[in-house]
Subunit: 214 residues, 4 copies
């Protein structure tokens, strides 16, 4: 009966505020601001405007709130990479699509991306461990793109695909980190430029082409 989808109930859904969603959204802001460990469950509840006991109606634990946030978003990303991968496009464009998606994700919801990166993908001792298989999946798919490009003779074969995938993803994530830390300038313009630069850097290299010697 609950969660009915359809026009009428959709209207009703608006009338009945979705507390679960409110808690998740609040958690993003609080985790981004204070960090997962430094915040209390009651901080999230306060931000969401609910009693903190309610959080335990929707989630079994504080950990699960973060995990939910991560899995939701990471799932979308994996989906997207999978789709890109299945198309027949030049490797550079595939990597460009991935970079674009990640940068757009940050542009659209910087707090969420900050939380995912800081509290999960970069947290080797806690959630990074828990969600290792999900994280690894992304690297694997990127590596496959590289492998294919190498087979096509477009990418150098001497650079290990696994390795290249890490370098590529690391470069993007570091740029996001730069934004998160306030080390790189932000803004629509910079976001767009970053998408191109990261691909150009990793695919084309920083060096200017060697002049053709006669």
């Amino acid at each position: 009966m609950a969660r009915r989808v359809g026009r009428v109930s959709a209207a009703r859904a608006k009338a009945v505020p979705d507390r679960r969603r409110a808690i998740l959204d609040a958690a993003v802001r609080v985790f981004a601001r204070q960090g997962f460990h430094a915040c209390r469950v009651s901080d999230i509840a306060d931000e969401a405007g609910v009693a903190y006991g309610l959080l335990y109606h929707y989630f079994p634990s504080k950990d699960e709130v973060l995990s939910t946030l991560f899995l939701e978003r990471w799932g979308v990303m994996l989906e997207m990479i999978r789709e890109v991968d299945s198309q027949s496009l030049p490797a550079r464009e595939k990597l460009g699509a991935i970079a674009s998606f990640i940068v757009d994700s940050y542009a659209h919801d910087p707090d969420l991306m900050k939380v995912i990166i800081v509290e999960v993908t970069r947290a080797a001792n806690s959630f990074g461990q828990t969600h290792l298989s999900q994280i690894r999946e992304a690297y694997k798919m990127i590596a496959e793109i590289v492998t294919k490009a190498q087979e096509d003779g477009v990418f150098k074969r001497e650079i290990d695909a696994q390795f290249a995938a890490m370098a590529f993803y690391g470069a993007i994530e570091q740029v996001l980190t730069g934004w998160i830390f306030g080390l790189l300038p932000q803004g629509e313009e910079h976001f767009e430029r970053a998408k191109q630069l990261v691909v150009e850097t990793v695919c084309g290299g920083l060096e200017t082409p060697a002049p053709v010697s006669t």
Copy 2:
């Protein structure tokens, strides 16, 4: 070669065990194994084989132990980058020296590098914030190397130096993260290879040179 002391005083130094050093070394192992937040001060003391009150004899807090560890090592790295920077070498070699230093650091003491990366440089909400100026210093010096290379016409001018520095550092750190997480194969051979590949990737690019069209 470094840290050599006169024979006599070296013997004496052995006679008096350096508990402070023992605590720092133990902290590295414990932080690496359990994470800074998940470990207790007594875990460090146990690992060091001392009473945990002694930790407070040498450090004002648990935080300060980690900070000391970070600053010690990061200081050495900054010093090294500064030295490399001052020499007149091709940009690729300068970046290669930096990559080598970082990889060697990991090869030599993986726990320490894990701690520095996981608990400091990637911990945006805690120690990453505290030591931001130190971290930024490294990025800045790398960016200067890129800038110089651009002025020399060796590096492409369209890729912002700041941005390139982040991409370069991010690529290396991600590779270390791969080792830390067990996502990339480790071993002397792989470490050596990584030094070359990261430079080749970022400087030369993943793509094969475009065939000279006639």
Copy 3:
């Protein structure tokens, strides 16, 4: 007479045990028995029959428990002195009313008065400092009673009012201290007698009236 509530709500009030009050009451007993510094927060919780985390639900710190106790009771006393002061009574009766109130307070709840005196009014280095303004307020109002009596020609003018107020209050507090330490005999009879004696001593003096010389 005070605090009477409607029958129904009074019954209801009983149904819901006031844990905050229980903690305060337990704290009085524990502070009196062991002293503020020598007791642990868990001693208070045990005495109150609650988990000690609950104490932190109601009070931000152990200090605040004592402060609450002091301010509650001291406030009542200041109120009472203020009221006495406002009436038109002979100075001796006003001081008598104050002495009576303090002695009655002790007779009614010796532990509470012990705590207030030992841990606050006589604790120059800790809570005595914190609550100095409240303590001073009592002395000030007593001094005003003396001043008025001096203006009326009832009290000697050569004894500074501030000074007289301290002597008067000091005499009473010392008597309570005698009871607290077990140096003076206690009991309803002694309490009643003390009320008169302290006033007689300070107002009338210890000396017998000089015989009228002819």
Copy 4:
């Protein structure tokens, strides 16, 4: 050889600083400033300019330092009261001598008197308990003075001697407390005046003599 008294060795005694004394003197300052419980043994040692281990050469514990301080000074006071008591003087003058001694003690070394009062005589839960017999001794001797005066018909018989002793001592101590807390003005002049006023208040009473009715 040590502790030789006499002219020559006295000169030497100056040359060899008395560390035990230095520690006691430092303890007075530190206890007065921070309170017994709030200060650390190392604070005392720092103030005395010695290593804190040395304190344990001269005293078995921190407690013992305070006890030594108290017993030294309180012993002198008991001695003095005993002497005064043995003389044949009017009760008022005997009490005056006691008040003078106490006030002079404060004038001469306010820190020491603060420590004795705050940390011992008023500390019902700790040192007040430990040294109860010593403290009681003073009250007893004062009470004896009162008793004798009552037998001589100089003091009213209806005011219990024990009680009068407490009131008298309490009045003085409260005045000292006023100085300690900064509630009463200090200075040579005020100290002298206080000696008279406390006796006049307790012996003569605050009230003006009743006019002789015919």
